[in-house]
């Protein structure tokens, strides 16, 4: 915001100078949360009509807060908002919608058991007497879906849709309510490359129809590819607005993080050892009887990272739960470090030197109101180093350990005694990592280890995982970040509808497109190719 907007408008490629009308202006927004966190410090954010404007920054930089303020979900401590030149007070999402601001949340706000039309019309149903006019609802959905070239079947149930289709429903829902400014919160995080490209095409159509799009993303290559301008936020402050034609990915990431970041993942080749995770003919049924994992077998060897690629919801969550003892499995066997884990409790499995970095760390990965130190020793209460045999804690040992963890894992906090919930997302994940990796694990189940983590912390976490692998440990990596699965893994298996559809022994030779085809179920390898992942000698 330091250069006059006018010059930037001219410099911004793809924006017609005559059309550059301010659609939205957030001026000097400051937000202090009740716990004292300053999420935004005098941020000014301006979006022009008919542009795709990227909003980038590390996790905890204040992007989400800014957008929550814009959508009326949070109130700013100070600052003003102008929509179409008018000063406005956005007190609630309803008010935001009335002003033509729509939001597509990262986690979809849809009712799975209702149809597409019912979801879209929720709260604004066309009526015929006392009844809902289903015919008209359906017709309206068809019309709007046709108008914006977002094909969707109104009578389909939302639970049967793919992630990409659900996103379309969310976008249409916002458009139907008269949104002229669309906020998309990390829309590509859950999409395959093919779906991502489709989304970009749709968003470009919207732009040419005069819609304004605010695109929140960590993925710099996407931002670079199709956004017009970018606002970068670091630590609650704007680092400037740039037309994307004038700035490189490297420069953006430097502005975001404040230093040069190595975006490429580099690792040495090492020879894998004996099998550490052996899964054979595993079948997992849901309580409803639905098959989530259908008869899969694979092996992860020592000194190997086996990546799991796949669109979310294809059985990854159930597989991880079964491997860590948190969920049941129906038939087949799981062997960790040579021990069959059937009927074993979570703590029994942990005692086999198994570490688990959970996907949803805020829900299951931490005790939020306990200190960083306490969070790093909770799995070590049987260790004679921290608790005497009578069960009394050795406070000084524990305190020292907490300090060491904070130091070794670069957890940024005032002291190790502060509660974990006061840390940023990346530092919470580092706390989880410190606990899980410091116990000397042989098998590490890493579920989305860098999701929602900022660039700097991502780099650190990846490097830690590679170091663990180089030390001869086995890592089972589940991630929806294609860049990560390709860069970090040695071999990759692809999960599609609960089955392994491909085994790619050398991740460095795989392209995103190829992987995407397996992930969407377009292509499938032969059983012989897939069984290579067992690493068993054939007679």
């Amino acid at each position: 915001m330091h250069l006059p907007c006018f010059i930037q408008k001219i410099r911004a490629g793809g924006v017609n100078v005559n059309q550059a009308v301010e659609a939205l202006r957030m001026e000097n927004i400051t937000k202090v949360y009740p716990n004292g966190v300053i999420a935004n410090k005098s941020v000014t954010f301006v979006v022009n009509q008919g542009e795709i404007h990227a909003l980038s920054g590390e996790n905890g930089a204040g992007k989400s807060t800014l957008m929550k303020i814009l959508f009326g979900e949070e109130q700013p401590t100070s600052g003003t908002i102008f929509a179409n030149g008018q000063k406005v007070n956005i007190s609630s999402p309803t008010e935001a919608i009335r002003l033509g601001i729509g939001m597509v949340h990262q986690h979809f706000m849809l009712v799975p058991s209702l149809t597409v039309a019912e979801n879209m019309m929720l709260g604004i149903e066309p009526r015929k007497g006392l009844k809902i006019d289903r015919k008209r609802a359906e017709k309206e959905v068809r019309e709007i879906s046709h108008k914006y070239n977002l094909p969707i079947e109104p009578n389909e149930r939302v639970e049967d849709l793919t992630v990409g289709q659900k996103q379309k429903v969310e976008i249409l829902k916002a458009l139907l309510r008269g949104a002229k400014i669309l906020i998309l919160d990390e829309p590509t995080a859950v999409l395959t490359p093919q779906e991502t490209r489709e989304l970009f095409a749709e968003l470009k159509t919207l732009r040419s129809n005069g819609y304004t799009i605010i695109f929140i993303s960590h993925k710099l290559n996407e931002v670079k590819e199709f956004c017009d301008r970018i606002t970068i936020i670091r630590r609650g402050q704007t680092m400037g607005v740039y037309p994307l034609s004038d700035i490189s990915e490297q420069e953006i990431s430097k502005l975001m993080v404040g230093r040069d970041v190595i975006l490429k993942i580099s690792k040495n080749k090492i020879l894998p050892g004996a099998p550490a995770i052996k899964v054979r003919n595993l079948k997992i049924l849901e309580e409803s009887g639905r098959v989530r994992i259908n008869n899969i077998s694979f092996t992860v060897r020592e000194g190997e990272i086996l990546g799991v690629a796949g669109v979310e919801g294809n059985g990854q969550a159930q597989l991880v739960k079964a491997l860590t003892g948190l969920g049941p499995y129906h038939s087949g066997s799981i062997e960790l470090c040579g021990t069959d884990i059937r009927k074993k409790s979570v703590s029994d499995i942990r005692k086999l030197s198994v570490a688990h970095i959970p996907e949803d760390r805020m829900t299951i990965g931490i005790a939020p109101r306990l200190s960083v130190t306490e969070n790093t020793v909770i799995d070590k209460t049987d260790n004679i180093r921290f608790f005497t045999r009578l069960g009394l804690s050795k406070s000084s040992e524990i305190r020292e350990y907490g300090k060491k963890m904070v130091r070794d894992y670069h957890i940024l906090c005032k002291t190790p005694d502060v509660s974990v919930e006061s840390l940023s997302g990346g530092n919470i994940q580092k706390t989880v990592l410190a606990r899980e990796l410091s116990g000397g694990p042989k098998v590490i189940i890493a579920d989305q280890p860098t999701r929602g983590v900022d660039v700097g912390a991502t780099e650190f976490i990846r490097r830690q995982l590679i170091a663990m692998r180089d030390a001869g440990n086995s890592i089972f990596l589940i991630t929806s970040d294609l860049n990560e699965v390709l860069g970090l893994s040695d071999g990759i298996i692809v999960l599609f509808e609960g089955e392994i559809t491909a085994y790619l022994p050398d991740a460095s030779n795989v392209t995103e497109e190829e992987l995407g085809q397996y992930m969407l179920g377009i292509k499938r390898q032969s059983p012989e190719q897939i069984s290579e992942v067992l690493h068993e000698q054939k007679d």
């Binding site: 716990n35 004292g36 402050q237 499995i349 942990r350 109101r369 306490e374 670069h410 502060v418 912390a457």
Partner: protein, 390 residues
């Protein structure tokens, strides 16, 4: 910084609550009394006019300390069992049986009676806990229902097996003289039970902060999903917490019986478990603050008694005050605005100091242990475990 702000706000909140309670007393008294000055005097100053009355405060506070400690241990484990009422009453029954039938020397007799009372309390408390563990039955519902079962069972046992037949009202047989708890302050009825309570409060604090089980208990109470994920054995922890709490309440019942009475004379459950919840909340779920909170509630009770005796205002006034206080304690939003303002100010000041000369730099996460505080995001939050509300 925030910790200090929270302390200031919390203390002010407590003072405000007490002030509101006092104002309420004034209003009620002035509305109902013919001689309000006397009533107010006897309510506020009355409890301190003699050693015996000060003793009364301690006597009133003693059972509350036990039940409040039990409530704290249950709540800190994330459970909502209301069993401390029933556990306290069954503890009375257990101790009574030993006190009447036991033939033991003086020192051992009360000890055995109280221990047996604690055992009874633990048993009763384990019922809702086990039901929850096995079949997922809500401990809130089962514990409340069980309190009635305990009450009528106790009354039945006393009426049919230990009743003093010569007495017209319900009373048990006289306890053995060897079973009495010694009085520790001459001229009052303050008995050894208060020492037991104080020691237990301190041990309760140590248990929560300094032992393996206490640590697991706090983790389970903070985030059950995390406890399961970390392999803490959350189900076992939840049951142990309730059993332990039941034992504490049961011990409290035994100590109360042997310290204050020579016969069982209750016709219904005395309600210490319920008031214990008020005390636990007033103590901010911290065992170390329990004696203070219990003493305050005890003071209100004694004041009300004296007022009822020496003026024309009834002692039910205290129940009104307790109800209002519970509402005020539970109201998280009280003074929240002020707290927010203080925090904003502190955060802004801190940000200014930290970032005056240099633009914010993220410390290099890759090399060395750089301990620069990340003031933008990492400011500590209010909730240290012993400061948060319910």
């Amino acid at each position: 910084m925030n910790r200090r702000i929270n302390l200031i706000v919390d203390l002010t909140k407590m003072l405000l609550i007490i002030l509101i309670a006092c104002v309420l007393v004034f209003i009620i008294v002035f509305l109902t009394s013919q001689e309000p000055a006397d009533a107010v005097y006897s309510f506020f100053v009355g409890p301190f006019t003699s050693l015996r009355r000060i003793g009364n405060i301690v006597e009133a506070a003693t059972p509350l300390m036990f039940t409040a400690l039990a409530v704290i241990i249950i709540f800190r484990a994330g459970q909502f069992s209301m069993i401390s009422e029933g556990a306290f009453f069954i503890g009375i029954l257990g101790a009574m049986i030993v006190a009447i039938t036991g033939r033991m020397p003086p020192g051992i007799h009360p000890l055995a009676a109280i221990v047996f009372g604690g055992f009874c309390g633990a048993f009763v408390a384990s019922v809702p806990a086990v039901l929850k563990m096995m079949w997922g039955v809500s401990e809130l519902v089962t514990s409340i229902m069980l309190n009635y079962v305990v009450q009528f069972f106790t009354i039945y046992v006393v009426s049919y097996h230990y009743r003093e037949i010569t007495s017209s009202s319900l009373a048990s047989l006289l306890f053995q003289e060897t079973s009495a708890m010694p009085v520790i302050v001459e001229g009052t009825r303050v008995h050894l039970g208060v020492i037991v309570a104080l020691v237990l409060c301190f041990l309760g604090f140590l248990f929560l902060q300094r032992t393996r089980l206490g640590f697991k208990l706090r983790v389970t109470g903070d985030n059950l999903h995390f406890a399961q994920y970390a392999g803490v054995g959350a189900a076992g922890v939840m049951v142990s917490a309730q059993v332990l709490a039941g034992a504490i309440a049961g011990i409290g019942g035994g100590a109360e019986l042997l310290g204050m009475y020579t016969r069982f004379k209750w016709t219904s459950s005395p309600g210490y478990g319920w008031i214990g919840i008020v005390v636990a909340l007033l103590a901010r779920r911290n065992p170390l603050l329990v004696p203070l909170a219990a003493a305050f509630i005890g003071y209100l009770n004694v004041g009300a008694d004296i007022m009822a005796r020496s003026s024309d205002v009834s002692r039910e006034v205290v129940l009104i005050i307790q109800g209002v206080m519970m509402l005020l304690i539970a109201s998280e939003a009280l003074l929240q605005h002020w707290r927010q303002k203080l925090i904003v100010k502190a955060a802004e000041k801190e940000a200014k100091e930290g970032n005056d000369d240099a633009p914010p730099e993220l410390p290099d996460a890759s090399i060395g242990g750089n301990d620069i505080p990340y003031t933008g995001v990492d400011t500590p939050t209010p909730n240290s475990p012993d400061q948060e509300g319910l």
